[in-house]
């Protein structure tokens, strides 16, 4: 009955994703917040808001999103950079 083991898991990601890749993805998110000294809760909220807004117009790859805040060269401001893969580019929705 091993195939039933994933049942009842409500947390993303789906159980058929290799656990090593789940670990890598979780670490990416948590390291960003560690480095930025912004709480992971806030980071996750920003990420989810960005996805929600963009998803209205585009087919966004939710699992491939990367949001970072890092210092900008030659200035004293931090910049938020979002890398959001689009599955089908510019497939506009009404």
């Amino acid at each position: 009955m091993r195939f039933l083991r994933g049942f009842g898991r409500q947390q993303q990601p789906a159980p058929d994703v290799a656990s090593s890749q789940v670990a890598k993805q979780r670490l990416k998110v948590v390291l960003v917040s560690d480095q930025m000294r912004v709480s992971p809760g806030l980071m996750a909220a920003i990420q989810s808001d960005l996805i929600d807004v963009l998803s209205r117009r585009l087919d966004v790859d939710r699992d491939g999103i990367e949001v970072t805040i890092s210092p900008t060269q030659y200035t004293d401001v931090d910049t938020l950079t979002a890398r959001i893969p689009i599955r089908r580019a510019a497939r506009a929705r009404r």
Binding site: R2, R5, R9, Q10, Q11, S19, S20, V22, A23, R26, L27, V29, V30, D34, R37, S39, P40, G41, L42, M43, A44
Partner: protein
């Protein structure tokens, strides 16, 4: 009646304190106990990611101590069990942001409303360790059957006894019976003889710990996990139950195994 304050410590790093805390805490909650976990490793927060709660952190232990929030606000509720919660460590502060007296006060307050308060201690013997054991009714020392870990455990046991806390109890983690059979690893009685404290658990080395931690799940959910079963046994012993220590010596499997054994080749 107030609940038990239990600190999980080790001296040496990397022997499994955090995994042990997460799994015992989850096992106690599965059994219906009200449990709160405190990550006392300020600056090197990890219990959150092992529990899969890293994205829910808003306030942390130092926020509670400094009065930036109420205790309730810093308690992150577990994904599955409403009777299990975590107070995460601060990630950007130092161990000296908290004093032993403040830890005593906090753990005692939490023990009024919970059956178990589990404190995950940092490695080492400095301030962080002293904070972690400050309020403890009971200390569990985690070691592995390796010389460095056992030596550090002995040091920790001495310090716990000097702190006038009842004698700590021992968890031997990452135990590998097949190596013991070959004579390549100290057996449990060897470790017990050296450390001379009561044994409360033996947890076999188990790959499922890595896969469950990858997903931020406790191994005690996995009925196939030998380590998960061992953690469940420890949780029962913590509640005063008598649970026999299972033998990890596996009998030879199948015809070939029996034949090999009969011929004098021990299965390794």
């Amino acid at each position: 009646m107030a609940g038990q304050i239990v600190t999980i410590t080790s001296g040496k790093g990397g022997v499994g304190k955090t995994t042990t805390t997460a799994n015992i805490g989850t096992a106690l909650a599965m059994g219906g106990r009200d449990v709160v976990l405190i990550d006392a490793d300020i600056g090197l927060r990890n219990l959150d990611i092992v529990m899969g709660l890293e994205n829910r952190i808003v306030y942390d232990l130092v926020d509670v101590i400094e009065g930036n929030c109420r205790v309730r606000q810093a308690m992150i509720r577990d994904k599955r069990f409403p009777n299990l919660s975590l107070i995460p460590a601060a990630q950007t502060r130092d161990k000296d942001a908290v004093s032993p007296e403040q830890m005593v006060e906090l753990t005692q307050e939490l023990a009024l409303t919970h059956d178990f308060v589990l404190v995950d201690s940092p490695a080492g013997i400095e301030q962080g360790f002293r904070n972690a054991i400050a309020g403890a009714h009971r200390v569990l020392v985690v070691t592995t059957p390796e010389v460095s870990a056992v030596r550090d455990a002995d040091r920790i046991i001495g310090l716990v006894e000097a702190a006038e806390i009842p004698p700590p109890q021992l968890i031997v983690n990452r135990f590998r019976p097949e190596m013991v059979l070959r004579g390549d690893m100290m057996d449990i009685p060897d470790v017990e003889e050296i450390l001379a404290i009561a044994l409360i658990g033996v947890v076999p080395e188990d790959q499922s710990i890595i896969t469950s931690t990858n997903r931020g799940e406790a191994a005690v959910f996995d009925t196939y996990s030998a380590a998960g079963r061992a953690f469940k046994d420890i949780a029962r012993r913590l509640q005063g139950e008598e649970v026999a220590f299972p033998s990890f010596q596996q009998p030879p499997v199948g015809v070939m195994g029996r034949l090999m054994k009969a011929l004098g080749f021990a299965r390794v």
